[in-house]
């Protein structure tokens, strides 16, 4: 059970992530992603929306699976730019780990 943190999306803006709330969770990005891996990248974007910081940090390795092929960004019906969101999350996770927050 997780407490929703609606401020998290704003916190991420410093890392170039500012389109997460445009996403309406259709799953097109996960369907087209060549990784075909556990709702990636939609799952990460939903985690941003609800502010599930712990889940993002725990599953951070998945962020580096992304090939940055750009298919998700090209097909996103909401221009939520999923590829760029994943890159932004990488920057966020790296910054957290430098601060020693990443286990």
């Amino acid at each position: 059970m997780a407490l929703v943190n609606p401020d998290f999306a704003a916190e991420l803006q410093a890392y170039g992530v500012d389109t997460a709330l445009e996403c309406f969770n259709c799953g097109t990005c996960a369907a087209i992603c060549p990784l075909n891996y556990e709702h990636f990248p939609r799952k990460m974007i939903r985690y941003i929306q609800v502010g599930a910081k712990q889940q993002i940090l725990q599953q951070a390795q998945d962020l580096w699976r992304c090939l940055h092929c750009g298919l998700c960004t090209r097909t996103c019906p909401r221009q939520a730019n999923p590829g760029e969101l994943i890159l932004g999350l990488r920057r966020y996770v790296v910054a957290q780990s430098r601060r020693g927050e990443h286990v």
């Binding site: 059970m1 997780a2 407490l3 929703v4 609606p6 999306a9 709330l21 445009e22 309406f24 969770n25 709702h39 799952k43 939903r46 985690y47 929306q49 609800v50 599930a52 909401r78």
Partner: protein, 646 residues
Amino acid sequence: MVKKKKSLASPEPTPGGKVGVYVCHCGGNISDAVDVEQVCAQARRVPGVVVARDNMFMCSDPGQEMIIEDLKSGLVERVVVASCSPSLHETTFRNALVRAGGNPYVYEHANLREQVSWVHHGPEATAKATRLVAAAAAKAAQLKPLDPIRVEVRPRALVIGGGMAGLKAALELAERGQAVVLVEKSPFLGGQVAQLQELAPGGETAAAVIGELAGAVLQHPAITVYTCAQVEGFEGYIGNFKLKITRTSPESAEYSEKLERLSQSGCGPGEYVPFVGLMPAAIPESREEIDLEAGVIILATGMRPYQPRQGEYGYKDFPEVVTLPEFIRALAAAPAAGDTLVLHGRHIRGAALIHCVGSRQIPGIHEENPGGYLNEYCSRTCCAAILHAANLIKERHPQTKFFDFYRDIRTYGRGQEELYTRAAANQVLFFRFEAGEEPQILQNPDAKGSPLLVRVKDVLTFGEELEVPVDLVVLAVGQEPNNISDLVEKMKIPVGADRFLQEVHPKLRPVELSVAGILLAGTCQAPFGVGEACAAAGAAAVKAAAILSRGYVELDPFVAEVDLSKCTGTGACVEACLADGALAMVEMEVGGQKVQRARVNPVMCLGCGACVAVCPENAINIQGWTLKQFESMVDMIVSDEYLEQA
């Protein structure tokens, strides 16, 4: 009141003779199972039949022309068409008879599609088709030309309900030159729309919309408005409704809050007051009765917002849980500026919006409402209304966060999808729940935080359970029809399983009821938005104006007729009659003696035949369906004389 039109110009058909039989292939629908040519060949051997023809589509122009030519040339005088169901094309072919200069009632229809080719195959299909056609021909030979029943129309419309739809219908009728009486139960005009502020999706204000409409209604010389009024007496039929309207001082508590608001506003009669409407006239001090005659009635009795049960989403358990209409009222008193919305002095940092409250309830999953019913329908307007409210607030108070809990988002109409897109741009955060796993509203254990906690199993987060602290929960409640069971009973109007009034046909006759002369406008029929209610009201008004301006209506003459040479005045028919006022015993002179005899009011008669069955003298018959005609049909069905020898 009831006049018979002059007999149609055509010459009287020869009794018993000159029947034309026209058999349709229905493009294979019939001819794939029925040997149409054989049916024609055998039909020619039926007594009275002078010609039998077939056509691929008898309802097509060439098919109808064939019939018309035979009538015009004098070859046939009576017509049988053997085709699809009479409900589809009986009227088509009767009209063809009229176009040929004939009487439309010397026509008989045989159903070879629904009753034969769609349900039988092989030689039996052709055999059954042959007997049905022969029976129809035998009846056609017995038919007499009839005249439609012509009823004069009282030149006035009654509109019941003074909300958006009722006002619109009244105004449209008056602008078409018709006299209108508008009856409203409450002391106010404006209905449920007057309980709103800005209307989704366009943002027009209720004040402007109702103010303009009600103002025009009150100023129009052709419209009489009675508030605090109800229909107590109802009788009659299309063109001649007789009504008793009573005006009384309403139950004290019911409208006291609105009357209080009205007196505080300092507004006078006919001025719009938010969350009240307009009060055009003083509340009557004593009971008044008004007798009224009307040619048509428009029902615009409207809807009421669903009222949640105590404990439904924490309603009435927590003061922070409100319905959308309650929220809109509170919002009107809130400061318009400021980073955060402030309601009743409380800062609203986070607000939950919950969709489908009192709508789309599922048997076996949702609890029945106190009346023992479920609202299984979608109320259609709540998604747009609540997202519109969220957008307005978010754009005014950017620090107030919205959490939207939906089952499905149905922003289905013009300008509504944009509300949803705008809500995402306004950073409204969406959660999706399954039916039966509705969000729970709990007290927030964190005493320093917001008072409430919404717990949801969120489909969008892969079924994970999430909790959101909020200061306010707004329930997007659906629409329920107003309880008009008294009118339903008096007028005998059909009600759907969803308790809304039931139109004749959802596509082809969407504002008509099966009771002729009574029309539907607005949310008494189904959940509508304001624009849709107005469109329906406009359609009903035009339908009503068409009846009123024509001045008369014509009804099919398939009603009971008394043969006074046989009637002995037993009164059995009157006892058996199912329609109030259709049959009565009246005094008349026969052979210098005053006697009691049955008399039919053709306008009230349903043509059901209950009287025919009980008359010991066989003195009463349904025109166009007499016992003699039935007998000739049965004789022909059991006869083998016309069948070709195998």
